[in-house]
């Protein structure tokens, strides 16, 4: 098999907050092939946004990578210098779109300025010494806007972000992030702040453009329903760890982890009419006070003694299907019926 586009290996990361260490990512292992869409799902505070930021090394100052590697096209991004990251990776090979389009664009500069600045950086990093005129990048910016479905891009390019709706701002971001030079898009809750119809449109735009350019996508969301539409592979995270990972069909069809099963059961579309939706009791524990053993055991109705003592390793339970549940590993496949 050829080298995967992205291989994250044993990635472990702490947040140091006033002397308290919080393990935000714990031994994260996964690969992403060219053109693949990997959906990362989990409740708030499970480390999924940290993952995207860690890949691009845009972490807040309190974060510290303890060990592990992020191989992108065979190179460990964690070993690159800051200059190499800027010159070759950020905004070129790997781009990112963020959760809150309201704040992701600079409020006091025109869309034109922000897009042409980025296009100029991209161009100069690819072709050192390039001295094209502003008009060149402006045209390029208008093309990108057109591509993302913004009406009247020639006029809109001179607008300020506050003159755009949230969905349109996210389109602008997508226009900045998706081009033929990009290999990997990190989408961090890209549609969470948008209303449902706009969300569907934006997701379709991301998937269509990614498919057109052969871009792989790491799509972080707390909405498993969205992933049913767009992801090839799914990764379920909880309190900084991977709980389950596999092809979408496998994971949706026969979840091997009680947590995944619970998330799926709490989806409206999956429930028979008239039944109450499942709500998992409790909440994600604070990262500096994780329970012993399996971090999910206090909320898991299936938990046994062993779950309170042993940390379950992520194990391949079927070909290409990984799960981190001791009970599943002990007894083999079973139906996790929460209700």
């Amino acid at each position: 098999m050829s080298e995967p586009l992205l291989e994250v290996s044993n990635l472990t990361l702490d947040y140091n907050l006033g002397g308290r260490k919080m393990r935000a990512l714990d031994r994260i292992n996964f690969t992403l092939e060219k053109g693949e869409v990997l959906g990362v799902a989990g409740e708030s505070g499970c480390g999924k946004s940290t993952l995207g930021l860690a890949i691009l090394r845009l972490l807040p100052r309190v974060a510290e990578i303890r060990r592990g590697a992020v191989f992108f096209k065979g190179t460990d991004l964690l070993k690159l210098s800051e200059e190499q990251m800027e010159l070759e990776i950020r905004g070129q090979e790997i781009t990112m779109i963020f959760q809150n389009p309201q704040n992701a664009l600079n409020p006091v500069f025109k869309i034109e300025t922000q897009m042409t600045d980025i296009l100029r950086v991209q161009d100069r990093n690819q072709n050192p010494g390039s001295r094209k005129r502003h008009q060149h990048y402006r045209k390029q910016a208008i093309e990108r806007l057109k591509l993302t479905g913004i009406a009247d891009p020639e006029a809109r390019v001179s607008n300020y972000p506050f003159e755009f709706s949230g969905g349109m701002k996210q389109r602008v971001m997508i226009g900045m992030a998706l081009s033929s030079g990009t290999s990997l898009l990190l989408a961090d809750e890209a549609t969470t702040a948008l209303d449902v119809t706009i969300e569907a449109q934006i997701n379709k735009l991301i998937i269509d453009l990614a498919a057109e350019y052969g871009i792989s996508v790491l799509y972080v969301t707390h909405n498993l329903g969205v992933l049913a539409e767009m992801a090839d592979k799914i990764m379920i995270m909880y309190a900084g760890r991977i709980f389950e990972m596999g092809e979408k069909e496998m994971l949706f069809g026969s979840p091997r982890h009680p947590y995944s099963a619970a998330l799926l059961e709490s989806l409206p579309s999956r429930q028979k009419k008239g039944r109450r939706l499942l709500s998992i009791p409790g909440f994600v524990p604070p990262l500096d006070r994780l329970p012993k053993g399996c971090s999910f055991h206090p909320r898991c109705v299936f938990a046994e003694d062993i779950c309170r003592k042993q940390v379950p390793p992520l194990t391949e339970v079927a070909s290409g299907h990984w799960s981190a549940c001791l009970l599943d590993q002990k007894r083999g496949r079973q139906k996790w019926q929460w209700t």
Partner: protein
């Protein structure tokens, strides 16, 4: 943009009018009678009455205000009780000195303060950043008049390289500039510190903003992120403070003008207050207020240039 500027500029008129009315009322609440002050302790009641009539002091307040307003429209602010000069010509003589002092001082202070603050925020972990932060605190802590006295002691007495007194108007442009150095420094030093601190704080906030992370994610060079993307956002609070601070600045200018014996609005008003020279006090404060309002207008207009969201509110 033009519409916003015009709209904003028109607001100056009612503002000034309001100030004028309050000012007019306040001056006449002050103890002392201008006519007897002017004529001295041995004035006869007849003379006082005659002067009161000439200055409309015997008329009802609204009528006096009316006379005063008509005078202003005609460019006549009355006559100094003491010297007999026209108030408008006294002001015209004093104003350029004060304006020069205040605005050079503020302009340079703003430039230095904002850049220092931005620098301190960008280099928050380095010793240089820390040094800037401490130095700016020191600047804030020193009152104008103390700075003025210390500077005078240092550069006019210990190392006599700069002139201590006057405005240097007889020595041409270079003379004016040299005479401006110490007063402008004394007046601006606190502003440098204050604006540096303010800019540092807001810059630290802005540097954590999502749109800065976006720029970093797209490899916009660090210097452009800091001094263009972030600074344009971080400078907004400083503009407000500068606009509102012009009043304080003019207050500081009074001390500095007196210490350095510079002619100017501050000295004119203070002397007039001691002498109960009401027309000069009124005219002087009116002009000071107008300066203040004008500075606020400029601040609001530059707001709209920095932050495009403003003009649409």
């Amino acid at each position: 943009m033009l519409k916003y500027i015009i709209k904003r500029a028109l607001w100056v008129i009612p503002t000034l009018l309001g100030v004028l009315i309050i000012l007019f009322g306040l001056t006449y609440l002050m103890p002392g009678d201008p006519a007897s002050a002017m004529l001295g302790p041995r004035a006869t009641p007849e003379l006082v009455a005659e002067l009161n009539e000439r200055m409309h002091l015997d008329r009802a307040m609204p009528v006096r205000l009316g006379y005063y307003l008509v005078g202003i429209v005609k460019g006549d602010l009355g006559t100094s009780v003491w010297s007999g000069h026209k108030v408008s010509s006294l002001l015209a003589e004093a104003l350029p000195h004060t304006a020069l002092l205040a605005f050079t001082s503020l302009g340079i202070a703003a430039l230095i303060g904002i850049l220092l603050g931005a620098f301190a925020a960008v280099r928050r972990d380095s010793p240089i950043g820390g040094a800037v932060t401490i130095a700016s605190l020191l600047g804030v802590a020193i009152p104008d008049f103390v700075a003025a006295l210390l500077l005078m002691l240092l550069f006019c007495v210990q190392i006599p390289i700069l002139p201590a007194l006057g405005a240097g108007t007889d020595d041409g442009l270079i003379g004016i500039a040299v005479h401006l150095i110490l007063p402008a420094t004394a007046l601006g030093i606190g502003w440098v510190g204050y604006l540096a601190r303010l800019t540092r704080e807001s810059m630290l906030d802005v540097l954590d903003a999502d749109y800065i992370r976006t720029a970093r994610a797209f490899a916009v060079p660090g210097r452009a992120i800091a001094y263009q993307y972030a600074l344009k956002n971080a400078v907004i609070p400083s503009i407000t403070v500068i606009g509102l601070g012009v009043g304080k600045l003019l207050g500081g200018a009074v001390f500095v003008e007196i210490i350095f014996s510079r002619p100017g609005l501050g000295k004119l008003i203070v002397d007039a207050v001691y002498a109960r020279d009401f027309p000069v006090v009124q005219g002087g404060i009116l002009v000071a207020t107008a300066l203040f309002v004008l500075a606020n207008l400029l601040a609001d207009i530059s707001y709209a240039f920095v932050d495009p969201r403003i003009q649409y509110d």
